[in-house]
């Protein structure tokens, strides 16, 4: 097709609505934000607009809390590798065959299962243990779907936490983590009882303890010591929400494009399952992993806002305040937009830097 100046007219016609919106709601804000970070821009009427050069940035780097919140942000990102590894593991398992070869075996299994479930559920219900009855019933339904439709149905069900993630599920989890009557601690207490362990269930969202709590951190980091606290709760919730999500789907797509001949050659060479995984699967998936790591890092550095706002208000004692939540409080609660923009731009530079590092390192690995 000819490339010519005449085409600009037509191109503009098609581009116009999107471009206008883009300029108004993306380009202009970018410039305003950059410019604003050099001023005392504020929505508080008492604060006049003055140019302060790098003033905001300097106060930012002198701000003890900035480093505290940075630590929080990075801490929460520790869950990302676990979640990615989990997605990979799930993808590998779900990529295998789940269909039973013999049709009559399958139908027989299904019927047997249906009767088993019906029987178990009713018995448990009547016996008064309704919770277990529900669990048995659910196991049965999932099993039936799984036997019938194979790995597709498992994949669908595992995607649900990811798809429904949002304010609703965040609130759900804050209920589950309730240290007194939340489901999680009930289960833990049950396990402790069975194993005769005499310990308290974790405080989760009310506790400032953390798994890295043994590190000697400055006092304003409000380090509560070793244990399972608010950060772990948020991380756990994050892993739950991400493990069956887009990453798993991307890995599934990647797995299906690995040529089976590679595995056949490995089998002939006598490789074990683990060796196959390490030397064929993982390297072949390198581009996908690279993409996922880059995207997750970018997202992770910006994350933690919803959880902070809905579950903990950044606490207890500020240990769940991530940089994004900090930007929110500075900009919309204290109304100091200039300072908030400065924090946002520092965050951007961090993202850019880490992405570039990822890129360099990752490209080398992929090639």
């Amino acid at each position: 097709m000819k490339s010519s100046r005449k085409n600009i007219g037509i191109a503009l016609l098609f581009l116009a609505p999107n471009l206008l919106g883009f300029m108004l709601f993306t380009l202009v804000p970018v410039l305003l934000s950059l410019g604003g970070s050099f001023t005392t821009w504020s929505l508080r009427p008492s604060v006049p607009l003055e140019f302060v050069g790098f003033g905001n940035y300097i106060s930012l780097f002198k701000d003890k809390n900035f480093y505290f919140f940075l630590y929080n942000t990075v801490y929460l990102m520790l869950g990302i590798p676990i979640s990615i590894a989990g997605s990979l593991a799930l993808a590998v398992v779900l990529n295998q065959k789940f269909e039973f070869k013999k049709k009559n075996t399958q139908v027989r299994n299904e019927l047997f299962l249906a009767m088993l479930i019906a029987g178990a559920s009713m018995t448990l219900w009547i016996a008064g243990s309704r919770n277990l009855a529900l669990v048995a019933f659910t196991l049965g339904i999932v099993a039936l779907l799984g036997f019938r439709f194979g790995s597709i149905s498992y994949r669908t069900m595992l995607y649900l936490p990811f798809f429904t993630a949002g304010a609703g599920t965040v609130l759900l989890w804050s209920q589950l983590f309730n240290p007194n009557f939340g489901l999680i601690n009930e289960v833990i207490r049950g396990i402790f009882a069975v194993l005769h362990i005499n310990a308290e269930a974790p405080g989760w969202l009310t506790s400032t303890k953390s798994l890295l709590g043994f590190l000697p951190l400055p006092s304003h980091f409000n380090n509560g010591g070793f244990g399972l606290g608010a950060r772990e709760a948020i991380m756990f919730m994050g892993i739950w929400g991400a493990i069956g999500g887009n990453n798993m789907l991307l890995y599934l797509a990647g797995l299906s494009s690995i040529s089976p001949e590679l595995y056949e050659a490995a089998d002939i060479d006598g490789a074990s399952n683990w060796q196959r995984f390490r030397h064929i699967t993982v390297p072949q998936l390198a581009p996908t992993t690279f993409f996922i790591v880059v995207v997750s890092t970018i997202g992770g550095l910006q994350g933690g806002f919803e959880q902070a706002r809905l579950m903990t208000e950044g606490g207890p004692a500020g240990i769940t305040t991530t940089l994004s939540y900090y930007i929110y409080t500075q900009g919309f609660e204290r109304l100091d937009l200039g300072y908030g923009c400065a924090v946002a731009w520092v965050l951007f530079l961090m993202i850019l830097g880490i992405t570039l590092v990822n890129w360099k390192y990752g490209k080398a690995e992929v090639d």
Binding site: V93, F163, A167, Q175, Q302
Partner: protein, 282 residues
């Protein structure tokens, strides 16, 4: 035979894992039917189910525990969420398709550089933009209005990127045949290209609706009055005001999550295709 047994155990392992993952949803459902007195117990199934919790949340009945009607307008939030997400999705799809057409089917000087600019801004964290966008809204007097909630989200670089990926896969021969047949760009766009990228549009609709339905930050800062709240923001105030009434909170949460579950079950095939096409191509 051993293979079949192994397979059976593989299934079992998966089943247990899946059930563990969806257990929170089960608990949510169960708790939403509990009367207030049972909430403190960590059970899945209420002893005496109380379905009118749902009516209470929808303001159709007084709360069994306090005896009063709720002070918050959940039904309205529902409407808002669906309305706003719907509008944003519609606008996004329209403008993204048109822009993607300009980026992929028309050859004009500077095209690739401008597209790179689009891509570049996708890397900038949304937070950088939120603060000034708020100021812009204040200046335009659009704070606390429907337009203010809809417009900024309606123009997406991501949507343009996704549609351009899909359009890139369509052979240029169709364009040439259409030009020889006598089509203008507009006719080519409407009659040939759009029908061929329908799978991409469906994926975009799902992703966009889902993302915007769950959008939290922007409605949070934009909305002051209760009647304008969307569900995520509404749940926040619900939790603040009635946080002790876990049974009502869970009923509200379940209702807010339900449309997503339904949307997902109905559309999951197209959705998976869209993600894999968009992500793997990179």
């Amino acid at each position: 035979m051993k293979r079949e047994v192994q397979l059976f155990f593989k299934h079992c392992g998966m089943i247990v894992f899946v059930v563990a993952m969806i257990l929170p949803f089960l608990w949510m459902a169960g708790t939403s039917f509990k009367p207030h007195s049972e909430v403190e117990r960590a059970s899945l199934v209420p002893d005496s189910p109380q379905p009118q919790n749902y009516a209470v949340v929808l303001k159709k009945a007084p709360d069994a525990f306090t005896g009063k009607f709720l002070d918050l307008d959940f039904g309205r939030w529902y409407l808002n969420s669906v309305l706003i997400a719907g509008w944003v999705t519609a606008l996004q799809v329209m403008t993204s398709c048109m822009a993607a057409y300009a980026f992929s089917r028309i050859n004009w000087p500077g095209r690739d550089k401008v597209f790179l600019l689009y891509l570049g801004t996708m890397m900038i964290p949304g937070l950088v933009l939120m603060l000034p966008n708020y100021q812009i809204m204040v200046s335009l007097h659009l704070v606390n209005t429907y337009s203010g909630l809809i417009l900024p989200a309606a123009f997406s670089a991501f949507g343009t990127f996704l549609m351009r990926q899909f359009m890139g896969g369509i052979s240029k021969s169709y364009d040439e045949a259409a030009f020889i047949d006598g089509a203008t760009h507009l006719q080519l766009f409407l009659e040939v290209i759009l029908p061929l990228v329908r799978p991409g549009m469906v994926s975009l609709v799902i992703l966009s609706f889902m993302g915007n339905y769950q959008s939290f930050f922007w409605p949070l800062v934009m909305v002051k009055d209760d009647y304008l709240r969307t569900i995520p923001v509404g749940l926040l105030s619900f939790s603040g005001q009635y946080g002790q009434q876990t049974e009502l909170l869970m009923a509200a949460t379940l209702m807010s999550v339900a449309p997503l579950i339904i949307l997902f079950i109905v559309m999951q095939k197209q959705l998976v295709e869209g993600i894999q096409l968009g992500g793997v191509k990179g």
